[in-house]
């Protein structure tokens, strides 16, 4: 069948639609002028201002603490939950409930957590954001690992037991390596989601401990500056690196198994 060249038009148009805003943002971050909308020549000036902005630095540190902490917790708990769901229960309801926070509207989760923290009279701060992000990050890790588990061969675990391994050794030596690509993908997902999460963080953070998205939000309220563009470009770089690293590492671990 002859392929019509015309079909390529909507194909490329889709990509233009997807990436034009991002390209504009990146270009504007190198703008020499003050306006975030009119390009006046190349400069790294805004990256310099960005580095000197104490509020942004503080926000970035907060965000990294929350992202790393919640990713570690979410990965460990999510993996264990996935294994429990796949191997030790047949309840579809529990299955669905374990992954529900992933699709729950952030607003609902945010308000719910805020009410919960108020009820147990917990203070708000980085710890409350960290735990909140663990909740939804865990749901994503569970979903990814759970999918991998359903495709994993249970006879491997039986073979390990048959050869004299205790259930614990079997889990560490056989189950975990089988799940590694899934766990890694889930962890990176939890990490990237946490880094730019706004709604839940907005509800559960204390005014003294804003995360980066909250800092950006409060800056944008007074108008977009090229500084924000520079910051967004850097965030973009982090996300891209995360995606590429995930792809590389899943391919690596998959070729090993």
């Amino acid at each position: 069948m002859r392929k019509s060249r015309l079909l390529y038009v909507p194909f490329w148009a889709t990509y233009v639609f997807l990436y034009t805003p991002i390209v504009v943002l990146v270009v504007m971050s190198f703008n020499a002028g003050d306006s975030p909308y009119v390009y006046e020549g190349f400069s790294l000036e805004w990256y310099g201002t960005l580095a000197k902005n104490a509020a942004i630095r503080e926000g970035l540190v907060n965000t990294l603490i929350v992202a790393v902490g919640s990713t570690v917790l979410a990965t460990v708990l999510g993996t264990l939950l996935a294994v429990g769901l796949a191997r030790h229960t047949r309840s579809r309801a529990l299955d669905a409930l374990g992954m529900l926070p992933a699709v729950l509207p952030d607003l609902v989760l945010g308000i719910g957590l805020l009410v919960f923290y108020a009820t147990i009279k917990s203070t708000l701060g980085l710890h409350s954001v960290l735990l909140a992000h663990t909740v939804f990050g865990m749901a994503f890790v569970t979903a990814v690992v759970r999918t991998r588990l359903t495709h994993a061969d249970t006879s491997l675990e039986e073979a390990s037991r048959d050869l004299g391994a205790t259930p614990f050794t079997t889990f560490v030596r056989i189950t975990l390596p089988q799940l590694a690509p899934g766990i890694l993908a889930g962890a990176l997902l939890a990490f990237t989601l946490s880094i730019d999460e706004f709604v839940i963080a907005f509800f559960t953070a204390a005014p003294t401990t804003p995360t980066l998205p909250i800092v950006i939000y409060s800056m944008v309220r007074f108008g977009v500056t090229p500084e924000i563009n520079a910051l967004a470009t850097l965030l973009l770089l982090v996300s891209f690196t995360a995606v590429i690293v995930t792809q590389r590492m899943t391919r690596l671990t998959e070729s090993l198994s």
Partner: protein, 343 residues
């Protein structure tokens, strides 16, 4: 050595095993043979420790086996899918079970090398399972199981994943290894030829129960239940009642058989295709018309339509046969070749 007494297992409404009792001797190559879904795999999983029976006991050399967790039993299972660990090399796969016994590194290495040599894979020690052929994977799975020197080795459909040529090779290999290591083997299979050529004794399973336990030749020549007569090898089966000369068929008259049954008992008469003679037209027990001749090289199959019987009678002859489709023939067999089975 292994004593299974009154073992039953139900899954919901399905009875996988009902009151199974078997005794397996030291050093024996024992086969559990039956169609899929007959419960043989469930029994194997009970012996390995992945299932527990609802009723019954299993003892190994007098020790209760069911009370021990799977990883503590002196029993190893070779999985149908082989279940090799994909993230480990061949040597690591084989060493895995020994490392669990906390043996010294030198001893583990020595035993791994020894067993890999035994299965002819010493050059493959550094490979990963996906780099091996089906036959090689099977050898690794076998090596991994026997390196533990279990008292009992269970094999779940060990040859089913191999193509025909490799299968014949591995069949001999399995027998040789079993002789060499002297471990009691229990193999599960649905392939009766495989069971016959491998095993010292065979237990035929049907619908969760044991039909007959016997040596292959005995099983073939003296099937004791209608199921065994139909399942093991090809058979011509006639219905009727026992009489002193054999079987009295309703439409076929008296058919010769080795009757030990009281007269008048409803019975089946089973005659192997290779025991039936093609006689001249006026002699013989049954007369009929040849409807098909198939030549297989070493043997030929002749199908003879006998009036009064719906299915044609199958006759196997050595080499090429002289009879042609459409010719009238008479069929005969010696009294000792007709086996009577009570219905």
């Amino acid at each position: 050595m292994l004593k299974i007494t009154g073992v039953s297992r139900r899954f919901g409404d399905v009875t996988a095993l009902s009151d199974v009792s078997l005794e397996i001797r030291q050093g024996e190559f024992f086969a559990l043979l039956g169609p899929s879904g007959c419960g043989k795999t469930t029994l194997l999983r009970i012996l390995a420790g992945f299932e527990s029976p609802d009723e019954g006991t299993v003892t190994l050399d007098g020790d209760d086996l069911l009370g021990q967790a799977a990883h503590r039993r002196p029993v190893n299972l070779m999985f149908q899918s082989y279940a090799l660990f994909p993230h480990m090399t061949v040597a690591k796969n084989v060493a895995y079970g020994l490392e669990r016994e906390r043996l010294g590194r030198a001893e583990v290495r020595g035993r791994v090398d020894e067993v890999l040599q035994k299965v002819g894979l010493e050059t493959m020690a550094g490979r990963r399972p996906h780099q091996l052929s089906g036959g090689q994977r099977q050898r690794v799975a076998l090596a991994r199981a026997i390196v533990k020197r279990p008292r009992l080795l269970l094999l779940d459909e060990p040859l089913s994943a191999l193509d025909k040529k490799v299968r014949a090779e591995m069949q001999l290999e399995l027998k040789r290894l079993q002789n060499e290591v002297g471990i009691t083997f229990v193999v599960v299979t649905h392939d009766q030829e495989e069971a016959m050529s491998l095993a010292d004794r065979i237990a035929v399973f049907n619908a969760g129960g044991v039909e007959q336990v016997d040596a292959p030749v005995e099983l073939y020549e003296h099937p004791r239940t209608p199921f065994v007569a139909g399942f093991v090898g090809a058979n011509n089966i006639f219905e009727g009642r026992a009489c002193s000369a054999g079987l009295a068929g309703e439409e076929l008259g008296i058919l010769p058989g080795d009757s030990g049954l009281p007269d008048g008992t409803p019975a089946l008469l089973a005659v192997r295709p290779e025991r039936i003679r093609l006689d001249g037209e006026d002699k013989g027990v049954l007369g009929g018309e040849v409807v098909d001749v198939s030549f297989y090289g070493g043997i030929s199959h002749v199908s003879v339509q006998v009036s009064g019987r719906r299915q044609p009678v199958l006759v196997a002859t050595q080499g090429a046969t002289q009879v042609q489709t459409g010719s009238k023939v008479a069929l005969g067999w010696a009294e000792g070749d007709g086996v009577l089975i009570p219905q």
